[in-house]
């Protein structure tokens, strides 16, 4: 009998009798005979054949754990450590001098305002909130920019930087199949994953020079020149992640020249507008330079850091085209990509940004808070540099700490040295030598300097 039962569920690999099924009294041998003539053809219900085999083995039996995210893994290790001097310089989320997370005052104000307004929660259009799309493009390109006036920008609200990058990647995959995206070496860890999952091939251009702890400009130019014509070049608009090393304005000019010469498409990832220099306009200079040359540019924006809206997932993808008609077509295709991904984007973050950027008083307040946050990081850089210079008697040049910009600093420490930072000094950072200055207070600079000096000189 048991074998007859088992043969019913022929495809089921594990067919042991399930204890609790039997207990529920589901053994129903009477129905077995009916199975011989296919009962399901008839319209009448025959009553169920109770299955006494156990739950089907999961179809996803052999799935293994995905590798842990290297950045978030750092925070987890930090949490698990109970040493009193521990320092978390892992994830790039802004912290106050007291090392507390910070909600911007303008955001608090607008959240309150939105709560009072009590607007409806209907679906946004696929391309997002119109008011948001308008202000976000103006913030990046400048309200008076001809490309905006001429309606040559296709702007679609995206889920922060990640979501916006993914939309662009999908567009590239569809319309430039096989074309590569060149990314800096190193770059933000998720860039590679995004392009991989979007099935867009990528390769790297030299960027970080470990000898100078600065930009390998010649290598960068050479690699961009060597790329096949019509490649996409992924550039960090400001405050390069993870190195903190940005090209100078002159260097940007040369990069633009080479890209034009090779008919490449510049693809900007702007996650830190305002966080680099403290000025929203200054930080958009690189993008604006390329646009001013008449180039067609892709630009992904994020408000995670500069408005602290990490959790609301608000950003945008912009494609500057040569005509309004092209922009309309491109926008329609971005929508076509977004619809089967999430149908339409979330409303809350868009309303917050639209309200802040669209109101001159709130916008001013935001600018001030932006300056304050970027200012704190600059102060911390100075203090760290001073501490390193005064404590380290070896004569090593630590000035790269001052030259680098934005939330991150590439210390030049290798993996073993980073491990020493963590194991001996309880300083948590990513293994590539990156520290997040947003997680550093003035009070801790001396301690950090000691840790860095020790790791650099005494560990190889």
């Amino acid at each position: 009998m048991a074998s007859t039962l088992l043969s019913l569920a022929s495809a089921t690999p594990s067919a042991s009798l399930c204890f609790h099924e039997i207990n529920k009294g589901k053994l129903n041998l009477g129905c077995i005979n009916k199975e011989k003539t296919n009962p399901f053809i008839k319209a009448k219900s025959f009553g169920r054949v109770s299955m006494v085999v156990a739950s089907n083995v999961s179809h996803f039996e052999g799935i293994t754990m995905a590798p842990p995210d290297p950045i978030l893994g750092v925070s987890e290790a930090f949490k698990a450590d109970d040493h009193e001097l521990k320092l978390n310089l892992g994830v790039g989320a802004y912290r106050t001098e007291e090392l507390q997370p910070y909600v911007l005052d303008v955001v608090k104000k607008v959240n309150k305002l939105l709560l009072e307004k009590g607007e409806n929660l209907e679906y946004l259009p696929i391309e997002g909130l119109a008011a948001f799309n308008k202000v976000t493009a103006e913030l990046l390109f400048g309200a008076d920019n001809p490309v905006i006036k001429q309606q040559r920008v296709a702007t679609v609200q995206g889920l922060s930087g990640t979501g916006s990058l993914r939309l662009a990647a999908a567009l590239i995959e569809r319309y430039f199949p096989g074309e590569k995206v060149l990314i800096s070496s190193p770059t933000w860890g998720n860039h590679k994953n995004i392009f991989n999952d979007a099935r867009v091939p990528w390769s790297e251009y030299r960027y970080y020079d470990p000898k100078t702890v600065g930009l390998d400009f010649e290598g960068m130019i050479a690699d961009i020149k060597a790329a096949p014509e019509g490649s996409f070049i992924l550039l960090h608009g400001c405050a390069h992640n993870p190195t903190g090393i940005d090209p100078t304005p002159e260097q940007w000019g040369v990069i633009a020249d080479v890209i034009q010469e090779k008919n490449h498409i510049p693809f900007f990832d702007i996650a830190y507008q305002g966080f680099a220099s403290g000025s929203l306009d200054t930080d958009a200079a690189s993008v604006r330079m390329f646009v001013a040359r008449g180039m067609e540019v892709i630009a992904a924006q994020s408000y995670s850091k500069n408005l602290g809206l990490y959790a609301e997932r608000i950003g945008a993808i912009n494609v500057v085209c040569s005509s309004p008609e092209a922009a309309a077509r491109v926008k329609s295709q971005l929508k076509r990509i977004a619809r089967p991904m999430y149908s339409n984007p979330p409303v809350h973050g868009a309303r917050i940004v639209a309200n802040i950027v669209g109101d001159s008083a709130l916008f001013k307040e935001w600018n001030a808070e932006m300056e304050m946050m970027a200012g704190r990081i600059k102060n911390v850089r100075h203090k760290l540099f001073d501490s390193l210079s005064s404590k380290d008697k070896s004569g090593k040049d630590w000035s790269f700490v001052l030259k680098q910009i934005g939330m991150f600093s590439f210390t030049g420490l290798n993996k073993a040295q980073c491990d020493n930072m963590t194991n001996k000094w309880h300083v948590y950072m990513t293994k590539d030598g990156r520290i997040s200055l947003a997680g550093l207070s003035l009070a801790k600079c001396e301690y950090l300097a000691d840790a860095i000096i020790d790791s650099y000189h005494n560990v190889s």
Partner: protein, 458 residues
């Protein structure tokens, strides 16, 4: 050095004649999404009494969008809370926990043994897409079977994940009900271990749901065939008004020991459309496998958008975990479902009273937000052009857009287009029929040929 050579800005160094062409010349305009296209056409129509029966978004009896009271209360408790990254993980886990309880049952073994992998998702669409990508990654050669018909975006979702689709019989155009025999045949004939998309209640677009008996049979056959059932739950509460009742199909599959996958949306039943809140869950053998699968799902969502927005997640988790607010929510779901049921009855009665010779039983037989009217494409177009009533081309009517004030007009318009198309003269016995002049007098008054035979107090 290099720098000085290039200080001349903006001067082209290439003489290629193709340089000035746009990169995007070969990008054609995308086809409009069929459901959104209806809304677009509706918005573009200047007629003051136009009616949108296209998109499946709930409206009250005034035709207005509704923010549920339970949402306002949850907002009051969380609204001005500004979210920090640290709290996000806890809130997300809470959402998944509560969503799983809602669909699988609080006392289900699956919950007790923590045998599910779940992540918050961007509403139903996002949950389906993550699953489609997951399916592609771990079963690269597989296909997905959709009911015929199904929500138009399903095909796009699995298509963009590069999973080919097939269909199984579902809707019977003659009976306007379920084609159960053909459905079972298709399930039987599909290769063992196929992936199926099932809608457990309030089927979109047909409103036709299997009975419990039929679900039992389907589940048994799935067991024999070792198929994978993926449920798209967009309307829990909207079919019967009772969230537990509407989860019956899933509970049946659970009892049969299936390890299912489930996409849940809170867009409709909590009115949180714009917040994009949902949950994707996959049942597993045990807790350990659940952790592994969750890590894979997270990885997929990390490259698509990172994580879903916290605001909506926080609202849903508050609503589901606070007993008072949850009780209020359940009441409000019943109100919404009941109003729709009432409109179904009213519309059918109105059509029958108008003397329509056609059978309109399906309006009340079908369940949930949508009525698959059986109207032809030509009739749908006529409704839009002449009566300013908008619905999708397949004749799907969003009953949520029907109100006490407009139901008579809608009935008359449907009667008008179906009668004239089928060569049946309009009778005069509607003289006693009260007319809602504030809605329709203008149009019908000017359309002399159409208005003849309709006794309107103009």
């Amino acid at each position: 050095m290099i720098i000085s050579r290039f200080l001349r800005r903006g001067i082209s160094t290439s003489t290629s004649p193709t340089r000035r062409r746009s990169w995007w010349d070969h990008v054609t305009p995308a086809l409009k999404d069929p459901i959104n296209a209806v809304t677009d056409a509706f918005l573009a129509d200047p007629c003051p009494y136009k009616i949108n029966l296209g998109v499946g978004a709930y409206r009250d009896d005034e035709g207005k969008p509704v923010v549920l009271q339970c949402v306002r209360e949850a907002e009051g408790k969380t609204g001005a809370t500004n979210f920090l990254e640290s709290t996000s993980t806890a809130i997300s886990s809470k959402l998944v926990e509560e969503s799983a309880k809602l669909i699988y049952g609080e006392d289900s073994d699956v919950i007790k043994e923590r045998r599910f992998a779940g992540i918050p998702a961007l509403s139903g669409t996002g949950a389906c897409r993550i699953f489609a990508e997951f399916q592609k990654q771990f079963y690269p050669g597989s296909t997905i079977y959709f009911p015929d018909p199904t929500w138009s975006n399903h095909r796009n979702i699995w298509g963009d994940a590069h999973v080919p689709d097939r269909t199984f019989h579902y809707y019977h155009p003659d009976s306007k009900g379920l084609n159960f025999v053909a459905l079972m045949d298709d399930v039987k004939n599909a290769p063992d271990g196929s992936f199926f998309l099932l809608q457990p209640c309030a089927h979109n677009p047909t409103g036709v749901d299997p009975t419990d008996e039929q679900w039992l049979e389907i589940s048994s056959l799935f067991k024999v065939k070792n198929h994978f059932p993926f449920f798209d739950v967009a309307y829990q509460g909207f079919a019967s008004g009772d969230v537990e009742r509407d989860a019956q199909a899933i509970r049946i599959f659970l009892e049969d020991g299936h390890s299912i996958g489930c996409a849940q949306s809170f867009a409709k039943n909590m009115g949180l459309y714009g917040h994009r809140v949902g949950c994707l869950s996959i049942l597993c053998n045990d807790k350990i496998q659940a952790v592994a699968i969750k890590s894979q799902l997270k990885q997929i969502s990390n490259t698509m958008y990172g994580s879903p927005p916290i605001h909506g997640i926080s609202l849903v988790s508050k609503i589901l975990s606070n007993p008072d607010i949850k009780a209020l929510w359940l009441k409000e779901v019943k109100v919404m479902a009941t109003r729709i049921q009432r409109m179904r009855a009213t519309l059918r009665e109105a059509l029958e009273r108008l003397g329509s010779p056609l059978n309109w039983q399906h309006i009340t037989n079908q369940v949930g937000m949508f009525c698959f009217s059986g109207l032809t494409r030509a009739e749908v177009d006529q409704l839009a052009k002449e009566f300013h009533i908008y619905m999708t081309h397949d004749g799907r009517i969003s009953m949520a857009g029907v109100t006490t004030k407009n139901v008579d007009y809608v009935a008359r318009a449907i009667h008008e287009v179906t009668a004239s198309d089928r060569d049946i003269k309009i009778l005069h016995n509607i003289g006693a029929y009260k007319v809602n002049t504030d809605i329709c007098s203008t149009s019908l008054g000017t359309k002399k040929t159409r208005a003849r035979g309709m006794n309107l107090a103009l």
